[in-house]
C-alpha cells in the first residue's frame, strides 16, 4: 500500500488554479521530490496534504485512510510532519521546548495525571525530553537546547524545524525548501541529514529549488508547473528530458540542472 495518494487534488484561488488535478503517489520509504518553478503550486500542495488548505476538489489518502476531511492536528497524529518554507519556529520558546512541542501528538497524559503529577505523566515527560534531545542531536543542535529559538542563526532555525517535525515520529515528512538560504557546506550537511532520516525509515517528500540537492537525494521526482503535474520519474529521466525541463522549468533552472550534472 502506498503511504500517500492524492487523487485529482485541486485548489482554486480567485482567478488561478494553484494545484490542478494532481495525482501524486508516494510509496513507503525513500525520498521523493516535487519540483517546479516559483508559483508552481508546491507549497499549496504541501498545505493541502497537511490540512492547512482545504481542497476545492480531490482526495488525500494516508496509508489507505481517507484524510481529506481530517483537520490538521489529526493528520499530524496520523503521521504527517512538515517544515515551512518561511520558517515558523516558536521564537520565544527554547530550542528544546520547540522540539518537545513537536511531540505533542504522541503524548497522552491526562489532565488529571498532569495536575497531580502522577508517575505516568512524569515518565512520559522524561521520555519525551530524552527523545527531544535525540532529535536535537540528529540535527546537530544539542548545544543550543536551552537557547531561545529566535536566537538561532537562520540555517539552525531550519534544522530546528526538522528536529521539531521528527519529534512527532512522522510516517511522512514534508520538507518545503529546507536548503533555502543555506551555504554550500550547510547544504551538504543537510543532504546527509535528510538521507539519515530516510534511512531510518521516515518517508521524505521534498520541495527544493537546489537541483544538485534534489538530483543527488531523490528516488523519484514529480514536476509541477502552473499547478499541473507535467512529468514524473527517476532523476535520470528528468535529467534526460531537457526539452521538458526547459519548457516547464525555464531556461535558467535548466541551465543550472545541466551544470549540476554535466
Amino acid at each position: 500500500m502506498n503511504l500517500l495518494e492524492t487523487c485529482g487534488l485541486t485548489r482554486r484561488y480567485a482567478g488561478l488554479v494553484a494545484v490542478d488535478h494532481v495525482d501524486l503517489v508516494v510509496p513507503r520509504g525513500g525520498i521523493h521530490a516535487v519540483i517546479g518553478p516559483n508559483g508552481a503550486g508546491k507549497t499549496t500542495l504541501f498545505n493541502l496534504i497537511s490540512g492547512l488548505v482545504v481542497p476545492s476538489e480531490g482526495s488525500i489518502h494516508l496509508a489507505g485512510q481517507d484524510v481529506t476531511a481530517r483537520p490538521t492536528h489529526v493528520r499530524a497524529a496520523l503521521g504527517i510532519g512538515r517544515t515551512f518554507q518561511n520558517i515558523r519556529i516558536f521564537g520565544e520558546m527554547s530550542v528544546l521546548e520547540n522540539v518537545l512541542t513537536g511531540a505533542h501528538a504522541r503524548l497522552r497524559a491526562s489532565l488529571v495525571s498532569i495536575a497531580l503529577r502522577l508517575p505516568g505523566f512524569r515518565s512520559e515527560e522524561r521520555q519525551a525530553v530524552a527523545a527531544a534531545r535525540e532529535a536535537l542531536a540528529l540535527v546537530g543542535l544539542s548545544e543550543r537546547a536551552a537557547q531561545p529559538a529566535s536566537s538561532l542563526p537562520y540555517g539552525d532555525q531550519r534544522r530546528l524545524e526538522i528536529a521539531r517535525a521528527m519529534a512527532g515520529q512522522p510516517l511522512l515528512l514534508l520538507l518545503d525548501e529546507p536548503a533555502a538560504g543555506m551555504n554550500p557546506a550547510e547544504t551538504t550537511a543537510l543532504a546527509g541529514l535528510v538521507r539519515r532520516i530516510a534511512d531510518a525509515g521516515t518517508t521524505v517528500l521534498l520541495v527544493e529549488h537546489d537541483m544538485g540537492f534534489v538530483m543527488s537525494l531523490s528516488d523519484h521526482i514529480t514536476v509541477l508547473n502552473f499547478g499541473r503535474k507535467i512529468f514524473e520519474g527517476k532523476p535520470a529521466a528528468v535529467r534526460s528530458e531537457p526539452a521538458v525541463v526547459e519548457a516547464y522549468l525555464g531556461a535558467r533552472l535548466a541551465a543550472k540542472l545541466r551544470a549540476a550534472h554535466a
Binding site: P71, R82, F90, M93, L96, L100, E125
Partner: protein
C-alpha cells in the same frame, strides 16, 4: 462542613481583629480580583481575546445568589455549582465564534455582557436596577484565598506540561501548533471554559461577601479592568496577572481622592502596557525545561 480548626472561635489578637475589620473587604477583593485575573490569563495564554470575564462573573454571581436565596442550597453546593451557568454561556459563545478569527470572540463576549445586563435589569428574579440585597455573607476570606491558591497551583502545574507548551505554541503561531498536532479549536474552547469556571467562582465568592449584587457590576467597565490586570502583570506565568490585579486593586486605595479617575487610570495602564510593556511588569516566562 468546616473543619474544626477553621470554626470561628479561635482567638484573634485585638490588633489583627481591628485590621481585618477595616481591611477585610479589601483583602477579599485581592483574592477575588486574583481569580478574575487568572480567568483572563487562561484565555490570553492561548492567544485569544475575550472581554466576557465580567459577564461570566455576573452569571456566577446571579446564579449562585439565586441558588442560595431561592433554592436555599448550602454554600458548599453553591460554590462549585456557580460555574455551571457561566460554562454553558462560554460554550454558547465560544463554539460558533472560535472557528472564526480572534476578533469575533472579543466582540461576541462584549455583546454577551450587554445582553446580560439588559436581562438583569428587566427580569424580576434578578431584582432589576436595584439588584439583589440581603445575600448572606458566606464566603470567608480563607475560601477566597484557598480558591486562588488552588487555581494558581493548577494553572502552574498544567502550564508545565505538554498542555502548557501547546498553549504557548498556539499563542506564538496557531498554524504551526496545529501542524504539531495541537487541537487548536479544542484548546481555545477549553481555555474559554476554564476561564468561565474561574470567573463564575469569583462571582459567587464576591456576591457572598458583599451582601448585594447589581447589574452594573458586571458590565463593560469591569471587563476592561479585568483585562488591565493581565496586561499590567503580563501572562508569562500565572503569578504575573495576579500581581497585576493586586497592584490595580491596591492603587485606588492609596489614591482614594482620585476614585473618579479610576477608568481613566485603567485605560492609561492598558495603553502604557501595550506600548511599553508587551510582556507586562513580570515579563519572565515559565521555565518548563525538564532536567
Amino acid at each position: 462542613m468546616m473543619p474544626a480548626w477553621l470554626a470561628s472561635d479561635w482567638t484573634i489578637p485585638a490588633g489583627l481583629d481591628d485590621f481585618l475589620w477595616t481591611y477585610g473587604h479589601l483583602i477579599n477583593s485581592l483574592g477575588i480580583n486574583g481569580l478574575l485575573a487568572l480567568s483572563m490569563y487562561v484565555v490570553l495564554a492561548v492567544g485569544q481575546l475575550s472581554l466576557g470575564q465580567a459577564a461570566f462573573m455576573g452569571l456566577g454571581a446571579y446564579s449562585s445568589v439565586l441558588m442560595t436565596l431561592t433554592l436555599k442550597l448550602p454554600f458548599y453546593v453553591v460554590l462549585p455549582a456557580s460555574c455551571l451557568v457561566p460554562v454553558l454561556f462560554a460554550l454558547a459563545v465560544g463554539v460558533p465564534t472560535l472557528r472564526l478569527s480572534g476578533v469575533y470572540l472579543a466582540i461576541a463576549t462584549i455583546g454577551l455582557g450587554e445582553v446580560l445586563r439588559a436581562l438583569y435589569l428587566n427580569v424580576d428574579v434578578f431584582g432589576g436596577a436595584l439588584g439583589i440585597n440581603g445575600i448572606p455573607e458566606r464566603a470567608q476570606t480563607w475560601m477566597i484565598f484557598g480558591m486562588l491558591i488552588l487555581a494558581l497551583l493548577g494553572l502552574w502545574l498544567v502550564g508545565r506540561s505538554r498542555i502548557g507548551r501547546a498553549m504557548e505554541a498556539m499563542r506564538e503561531d496557531a498554524t504551526a501548533a496545529a501542524v504539531m498536532g495541537v487541537n487548536v479549536p479544542g484548546y481555545q474552547l477549553g481555555a474559554l471554559v476554564a476561564s468561565a469556571v474561574l470567573a463564575g467562582i469569583a462571582g459567587c465568592l464576591s456576591a457572598h461577601q458583599s451582601s448585594f449584587i447589581g447589574p452594573n457590576e458586571y458590565g463593560f467597565e469591569p471587563a476592561v479592568t479585568i483585562l488591565s490586570f493581565a496586561l499590567l502583570g503580563g501572562i508569562g506565568t500565572p503569578v504575573a496577572p495576579v500581581v497585576g490585579a493586586w497592584i490595580l486593586t491596591l492603587l485606588p486605595e492609596l489614591l482614594r481622592g482620585f476614585s473618579d479617575l479610576r477608568l481613566v487610570f485603567n485605560g492609561l495602564i492598558i495603553v502604557v502596557a501595550v506600548l511599553f510593556l508587551p510582556h507586562g511588569l513580570l515579563g519572565w516566562r515559565m521555565r518548563r525545561r525538564a532536567a
